[in-house]
């Protein structure tokens, strides 16, 4: 007997159509197995769906918050408090000069008398002001910057320029709370990432555990397949397809959940925006989010299944 230390084992490579056919068959029978245990499948799918929907909807919420705070930053106004020495006619002249500026679309003058009236009406301290022998309120020009002045920094620069006018005591940007909103948005964004990673791990574990149980149930079948020379890839394949299906079904359900909650939220949000004279409406899921869900879900399912079967195969290997 000739001794070959190198193994010369026949490894049949089969044609592409056979290969495709077998994959299609395996995928279908994996789906069939899920179908035959509908309650289990439904529950696992729901858990995965919810786990995937949570970060997706938060991501969406953040996106919408960003749009909102950008819009508000854009609509920032600058209040110019005029010096006390500036009289009515001079104030009108200042307003006229300011509206000429190319970076200004609107400038509204609130005269000292007007300001006083408004104060009386809105503050509830009208009585107190009557005790004073003169009007302490300055005239104010409220300026709306041009659209191309975008972002807090640009508006601030504009305010600084306006403050150099001799008649203007103080130029104040009414932007602080918008900046706070965008800071909060950024913070939540970070949190959403952490949450997304945690929930992705959760999906991995859910699918991993489901497939692990499935592997347990089919232990003797796996053993017999190894007995007759089935490769690891052959044994793994049906389980990988199951994991893939779980991920895909879960992602679809997750997408559905996101869309439904968007639909339910959109009405109230519109009503709220109406109160603020805004036409803001919730934007639908973006392409990135959609792909993340519909590709990420199945990939996580696949990875979970891979880990579960891999562990079993490693355990049953001859020492």
């Amino acid at each position: 007997m000739a001794k070959r230390s190198k193994s010369q084992l026949p490894k049949r490579r089969f044609s592409l159509d056979t290969w495709l056919l077998r994959h299609a068959q395996t995928a279908l029978s994996a789906l069939g197995r899920l179908w035959r245990t509908p309650i289990n499948t439904l529950m696992t799918t729901m858990v995965i769906g919810i786990a995937l929907a949570l970060p997706s909807s938060l991501h969406l919420l953040i996106g919408n918050m960003r749009v909102l705070s950008d819009a508000w930053e854009g609509s920032a106004s600058v209040s110019l408090f005029l010096a006390e020495s500036v009289d009515e006619a001079q104030a009108k002249a200042v307003r006229a000069r300011i509206i000429q500026r190319p970076d200004v679309v609107e400038a509204r003058l609130i005269s000292r008398g007007h300001a006083l009236e408004e104060f009386r009406r809105l503050s509830g301290f009208g009585g107190a002001i009557d005790l004073l022998d003169h009007n302490p309120l300055p005239a104010v020009v409220v300026v709306r910057p041009h659209q191309r002045i975008q972002g807090a920094a640009a508006v601030k620069r504009m305010a600084d320029t306006l403050q150099t006018y001799r008649e203007i005591d103080l130029a104040q940007v009414d932007l602080q709370w918008v900046q706070r909103l965008s800071a909060i948005t950024r913070m939540i964004e970070r949190g959403v990432w952490v949450l997304a990673v945690l929930l992705a791990v959760a999906v991995l574990l859910i699918v991993g555990n489901t497939i692990r149980l499935e592997v347990q149930n089919r232990r003797s079948e796996i053993e017999i397949v190894t007995l007759v020379g089935g490769t690891d890839a052959f044994i793994r394949r049906p389980f990988l397809y199951e994991g893939l299906w779980y991920g895909a079904l879960g992602a679809t359900l997750g997408l559905l959940l996101v869309l439904v909650s968007l639909y339910l939220l959109n009405g109230p949000v519109r009503a709220l925006a109406g109160l603020y004279e805004s036409t803001f409406a919730l934007s639908m899921i973006d392409l990135k989010g959609l792909l993340g869900l519909l590709i990420g879900g199945p990939l996580l399912g696949l990875a979970g299944a891979w880990l579960a079967v891999g562990r079993h195969l490693a355990r049953t290997r001859p020492a």
């Binding site: 084992l9 020379g229 490769t231 001859p318």
Partner: protein, 223 residues
């Protein structure tokens, strides 16, 4: 075809499967392995099918050193070694046909070719009419024949059988032995572990007797 050079197998829990075995089975030979319970018969067969690896010495099968075989090549090795078990190891939820087809399915063989080969194997074990039934509805002897058909369907050069007649009455056992003799006639190398010396003694074949993990006796019986 099968060669053991100074082989020992100690299981992880310290039990000694084989103490030291030197053995050579020529291509086309048919040999029986016997010995008391725990002598190491199953261990010997498991080493050949690479279900266990030797802890010392070299095992050669069909010119290949199994010690040097990589993990990922083991399935391809097993396709050249048909295995038959006392408890048949059939899949209860698949038909006889599907059970026998399994060794071909894992190689990715086309359906038509698979069908031809499965029917040829069924014919050899005289079970052609049973291809659509489930194993549970068959008698013990029939189930064993299904197991045999599965082992030979891929036409492996080596067949190993571990107590193939362990659960069968004498008539059925003789029937199974007849089958093995037929396979041997067409050149298959067979190694059969058995307790039943009465069954094999008169066959005039080589009988290897193991005792406490060693070869105690190795002789050709004459009728």
């Amino acid at each position: 075809m099968i060669q053991f050079d100074n082989v020992a197998k100690r299981y992880p829990n310290g039990h000694e499967g084989l103490a030291v075995v030197d053995l050579h089975v020529a291509p086309g030979e048919m040999a029986f392995v016997t010995g008391h319970s725990g002598a190491g018969k199953s261990t010997l067969l498991k080493l050949i099918g690479l279900f266990e690896r030797s802890t010392r010495g070299q095992v050669w099968v069909n010119g290949r050193n199994l010690n040097k075989l990589k993990q990922r090549d083991i399935p391809y090795h097993r396709r050249e070694v048909g295995m038959i078990f006392q408890d048949h190891r059939l899949l209860p939820d698949r038909t006889v046909f599907d059970n026998i087809a399994l060794p071909l399915v894992v190689t990715g063989m086309r359906r038509a070719e698979t069908g031809r080969r499965v029917r040829a194997a069924l014919d050899k074990v005289s079970l052609l009419k049973k291809e659509k039934v489930f194993p549970i509805t068959l008698s013990g002897g029939e189930q064993q024949r299904v197991g045999i058909a599965r082992a030979l369907v891929s036409k492996p050069p080596v067949l190993l059988a571990d107590e193939p007649t362990g659960n069968l009455d004498p008539d059925l056992s003789r029937e199974i032995m007849e089958l093995f003799l037929q396979f041997n006639q067409v050149g298959v190398t067979l190694l059969i572990a058995t307790h039943d010396l009465g069954l094999v003694d008169h066959l005039g074949r080589r009988i290897i007797t193991l005792q406490q993990g060693r070869v105690a006796d190795d002789s050709q019986r004459t009728t």
